[in-house]
Symmetry: C2
Subunit: 312 residues, 2 copies
């Protein structure tokens, strides 16, 4: 953090230094937000790799030694691990610690956080950023730059907690993100639309391509530039992370999936009946929305995502 | 064409100098494949723009003057226009002309081409390449480089026609593409999988995002980096072109859409039942397929399509 009035953490621990955890460590390190960065992973080798490439200063061999003196604890694991981590934090974390997560689901996280001791200040966070790659080596300091981070605070009115919410927001701003606060239920619906459903559809499309017996996989690969390859990027994302998202945001995902299926039925019928006007009208909506996304700085304006400029 | 043994066309005309037509003109111009490039469009202004920016040497004011002396005729219009163009070619084109198209559907094109005079040699082609942009200004000479072009010749055994097929393939190779020959029905199924269904799904997803009343469009834009923005690229493609694709490849699209819907039902049920193992198994398939596409040179290996490297 460039502003010297903002707090600097003595000891920040990243639980699960994968793509997101490592990127946040690198961004906060550049911002000078903590003196020492510690990595912990249930697989020791992952924390060791994070240390070896300079993402963290130390690799902790066990959870207790990782968190017991930490003033900032970042939970960067799949969502399904958070419940168990809360129990461990109750046992081992130091009073007053700021705890943030990075999970793509927030309702289930808010629920899990209710089990924490009052002197642990858990601020649920979701940085809407990522790549299709995984592991400490995939992290980079600018991942959150100009992306949005959604914060969904717990229903606590005490000053210590409120100060922690302010501090959590300041961390994301230090990492280059814009911060927005909303309630967890709204987050889960909005992200079901903008992230969870797109991933589900991409995974489905990849499965369906495997399924047409008379089209060989080699052909799918060769002719993927016709559009299919765009979907394979997010379909290459971490399977465990995404399994947990769908298990923990079931209601919102099924709701938006219902909307999608209705829309698909309209298009299917238009194709079957040869209704060109309906097809044209629906197809026209995409341009305006893409233009808005480019103008909001959330997408590159270069055609083909700029692939051609790199010689691809 | 660098090989001086290959033919050079005296007068090549591009009917519909949009993204694909202009890119082919620019690529063939660089390869020295024709002496004069002529543009024609039912909207005169489009051909004029193509001329003004150097895509073609001349803009023809009417179809007859465009084609009557042309030895190479490229039909780069939406698929739905090809039937009427064939009637006009019968009236106006010079004997012996090589005619190619660039349409994303081939069965309907092969059918339309049966109405042509025997002395017109129509070789149906589909370069599997593009961007989400449209118009002459969107064209660039390297669009087809290392992409595949599928050629689906008519059922003609005469030597003149066979020579034309060879010449058509040579043109695409001169433009940098790899050429593959197959029958039109197989093309239409393979491309339904790798291109038409992905576009249909992308258009559907954009429509569904509009549909969830409690999520504002501003939120869809802000949080699009969660995955949604990947879909908006192909959903921004030319609506008329895509309307025609679905109207002319109905059977294959409905077939692969059926497979997609089955796969989606499996995932929907797994989410509803909390079946994490099924979700994980299906989600794991995406990584291998993406790796294969990257290894085949059809995709960039850079995370996020390399967006981050450009500062996005």
């Amino acid at each position: 953090m460039t502003d010297s009035a903002k707090p600097t953490y003595e000891r920040a621990v990243i639980i699960g230094p994968g793509l997101i955890g490592s990127s946040l460590a690198l961004a906060l390190r550049e911002a000078g937000a903590a003196k020492t960065f510690v990595g912990y992973d249930k697989e020791n080798a992952v924390a060791e790799r994070a240390r070896a490439i300079g993402v963290v200063d130390e690799a902790a061999g066990d959870f207790k030694s990782a968190v017991q003196n930490a003033s900032l604890i970042v939970l960067a694991t799949p969502v399904g691990a958070i419940g168990e981590l809360c129990a461990q934090l109750n046992a081992d974390a130091a009073p007053g610690a700021l705890i943030i997560d990075v999970g793509s689901v927030k309702g289930a996280i808010v629920e899990a956080a209710k089990s924490l001791r009052d002197d642990l200040h858990f601020v649920p966070c979701h940085p809407v950023a990522g790549t299709e790659q995984s592991g400490p080596e995939a992290g980079f300091a600018t991942l959150f730059k100009d992306r949005w981070c959604i914060v969904t605070p717990l229903a606590r009115e005490d000053d210590a907690y409120k100060a922690s919410v302010t501090n959590a927001k300041a961390l994301w701003e230090a990492a280059g993100a814009h911060v927005e606060e909303m309630d967890a239920a709204h987050h889960d619906l909005a992200l079901a639309v903008t992230s969870h459903l797109p991933h589900l559809i991409a995974f489905t499309l990849v499965g369906a391509a495997d399924d047409v017996e008379s089209v060989a996989q080699g052909e799918v690969v060769k002719y993927s530039a016709g559009g299919f390859r765009d979907f394979t990027r997010i379909a290459a994302s971490d399977p465990v992370m995404w399994r947990d998202v769908f298990l923990h945001n079931k209601d919102a995902v099924l709701e938006v999936l219902g909307r999608f299926s209705e829309e698909l039925a309209v298009l299917q019928r238009a194709i079957r009946w040869g209704d060109g006007q309906t097809l044209h009208d629906i197809f026209t909506r995409g341009r305006a929305l893409r233009r808005a996304i480019v103008e909001a700085g959330q997408e590159t304006a270069a055609p083909n995502f700029g692939r051609n400029e790199e010689g691809h």
